[in-house]
Symmetry: C2
Subunit: 440 residues, 2 copies
């Protein structure tokens, strides 16, 4: 199998004359397809072990029970479930969402919850409500790829704050905020995935959480806390979300995509009342309302099924996969490589030796039947050239071990090439690439 | 029962100190709650006949069959249906959508269809891709209320083109386009609901359709054709959508909300290839993907159920309701009133006598247990003070007749007041009000 990404089709930009090119909004310039997208189409072939995707493994879901719930919702409450709903979302589900958040010690009122199409839509609407072109959005570096695309689509100026194994570095955040304030920049919010970060796999240490909140409050900066993985912990003690410490200054985003299923597209925002009201209006103009039907099914699932046990079962499965990945990396990775050791979530973030470019290596890796996401996708405006995101959520432990073996073999060839010829040309990073379709 | 709209709660603006007021994006200023929203909460009480809402009447849906389909989707294809999907939408459903559009003589490829959360999301994304602040969007006057909100949320400058009983007036469109071109304005598209217009109830005459398309092509202007009601025709011959005449210059929006159910939130855009690619990227950053699950249910419904017969049944029901409304209006409305005579869709647009303000009259109407939508909601920046939208989709024929009786009684009192005291103060119109939740 031979793969040349330059042959990729379709290429939305460039290869075709676009008669509307002068008509697009300026923000559309930030909507650009990823260069590696075509490669991921190849990577989804069955012979390839994909360590790239962020899809949850839903094979453990009780499909018979869910099927019955879906039928009951239609037959017993179809007149309302199949009708338009409220823009804020179903009140019963919003109450249940508060109970889910209470598991992480968040104290919230259903009045302040807005149901959205995954937490992705919540992030889009928060950005829509707050960000004017040129406004600064701060995020961890690296950060969730589609968050970058969302901010770029509203023409935000995105800046990354560095992380270490304990999450974002508070001093770096404070320093950057002070500098931006001196420059008179409008900084709109700090977007963070503090627990089991996507893509870094690290968790913001408890002692740092207070510090981050204190800094943001001092600079009058909203925190947008994205917590899709919080309940997927495989070891160690739970860490309280930022929202559990600060009600006034945190917009919290949650999701059932990883704890139940992404197929219902149910996420939510929990926001201070004034922001909540803006978000409800934004929901209306974006889609009128979410599906009453889907909300009712998730509501019935939470009301009738042993969902905390289901999450435990997911965690058992994911723990075994994480262990398979970490032990394979420990055993096989060449010297000069390092990687994070996640206590939960879906991702390991690896750093390659000097002179190895993960994006340049990707076609060769796919050729060897293993895929990952190059680190550059998780930075805006450069960075991550020596990094890769390895996900352990979807493949089996056996596949993960085989995938790491293949990856290491490619990496060793790259290192040999580097030592012989002095390295491969480095990439210049990216600006607002869209993710591959399988990269939530 | 006494209603004072000034007592309305919650009022997202004004009544509460908003600590984030300086942080919002400029576009958030265009996201404003409707003044009449609180009134509609009252209007939803059972004793009120609501001629206000645009909810389809789904009581004829085969819930048993739909319940079984939903169960089958989960049990038989849950592994994919409950997983993330593609941003463009399910290929099988996209093919079926083309078959639905073929009923109206639209020839389309599934490759050019994007599945969205109702056609509302399609409209939001089209606006996001095309409209910079200050760009002009042309629409009919009056036009769909949430379209106005969507355009306002992207800071469009919205201009209305007048209609008569045959739809938008081509000469008025041409004249306005010529003037805007002379002024060097960037006009991004002409948004139109040409068939069974919401709220006007009128249909663009066939001979005008070619003229409108010719004008827009000459001015290099995209047409955004919103056609949620096209298949809901109660008399006369079908009219070909604009998209059936022009593939290159029309973005077409469709929906299953009125022909099946709004509860699945499945709509679509059909767009020229270059625009389609932009819209797919916009879908990704807005919500990653629509629900595979909902798409699979609608796909199975179309594949296994007699849906054209279902639409016929809907049409029988709606025809009886329209007839009830028109015959009641004919019999009871005072002189100096006029109204449109829709051949399909959900709405009648009434014009009241000089000196009668429909918004000022609304609290008195609700007090008399009948509700409607004042015409001002369907204009941006003023207009419609003497108009109201009367919908016949949801109440029964008996309720419609009773509703019209109550309305006429209120109207007669208003006319008497006007004749005695010289009229009520007129409203100054609106700018970007959000609709009541029941007003799709």
């Amino acid at each position: 199998m031979s793969v040349d990404p330059r042959e990729s089709q379709p290429n939305p930009q460039g290869s075709r004359i676009d008669p509307y090119v002068d008509a697009y909004a300026a923000r559309a310039a930030g909507m650009v397809a990823s260069e590696v997208r075509a490669l991921f189409a190849v990577a989804s072939r069955p012979e390839v072990v994909s360590l790239a995707g962020g899809m949850p493994n839903i094979s453990a879901l009780p499909l018979d029970a869910l099927g019955e719930l879906a039928q009951q919702v239609v037959v017993e409450q179809g007149r309302t479930a199949l009708q338009y709903g409220s823009a804020q979302g179903d009140p019963v589900l919003r109450q249940q969402i508060c109970e889910v958040m209470a598991l992480e010690e968040i104290d919230a009122s259903p009045d302040d919850v807005i149901v959205t199409v995954g937490s992705q839509q919540a992030l889009d609407l928060v950005t829509k409500v707050f960000v004017d072109p040129g406004d600064v959005v701060l995020t961890e570096g690296p950060t969730y790829v589609t968050a970058i695309n969302t901010f770029a689509a509203y023409q935000a100026h995105i800046e990354h704050i560095p992380m270490d194994d304990d999450g974002v570095i508070p001093e770096a955040l404070e320093e950057r905020l002070a500098a931006l304030t001196r420059q008179g920049k409008r900084v709109k919010f700090f977007y963070t995935v503090p627990t089991f970060n996507n893509p870094a796999g690290v968790t913001l240490a408890p002692e740092r959480r207070h510090r981050v909140l204190e800094i943001c409050e001092r600079f009058n900066l909203l925190v947008v806390e994205d917590n899709p993985y919080g309940l997927l912990r495989y070891e160690g003690d739970p860490v309280r979300p930022l929202r559990a410490e600060s009600e006034r200054n945190v917009i919290y985003l949650g999701s059932f995509s990883k704890t139940l299923s992404p197929g219902f597209r149910i996420g939510w925002a929990l926001a201070p009342a004034a922001v909540r009201d803006k978000l409800i209006l934004a929901v209306e103009s974006a889609m009128l309302s979410h599906s009453n039907f889907n909300q009712a099914i998730v509501g019935r699932y939470l009301a009738t099924q042993p969902w905390p046990e289901q999450i435990k079962e997911f965690n058992e499965m994911y723990r075994a996969r994480r262990d398979a990945m970490l032990s394979s990396l420990d055993a096989l990775m060449p010297p000069e490589c390092s990687w994070t050791r996640p206590s939960g979530g879906f991702f390991v973030w690896a750093t390659l030796p000097e002179g190895i470019n993960s994006k340049a290596m990707l076609p060769r890796a796919v050729n060897e039947r293993v895929a990952y996401v190059p680190g550059t996708g998780f930075y805006y405006g450069g960075g991550g050239e020596r990094n890769m995101r390895l996900s352990f959520c979807y493949p089996t432990p056996e596949q993960i071990r085989e995938g790491v073996r293949r990856l290491v073999s490619v990496l060793e060839s790259e290192i040999e090439l580097r030592d012989t010829f002095g390295g491969v040309p480095s990439s210049t990073g990216r600006g607002g690439e869209a993710p591959a379709p399988d990269l939530p």
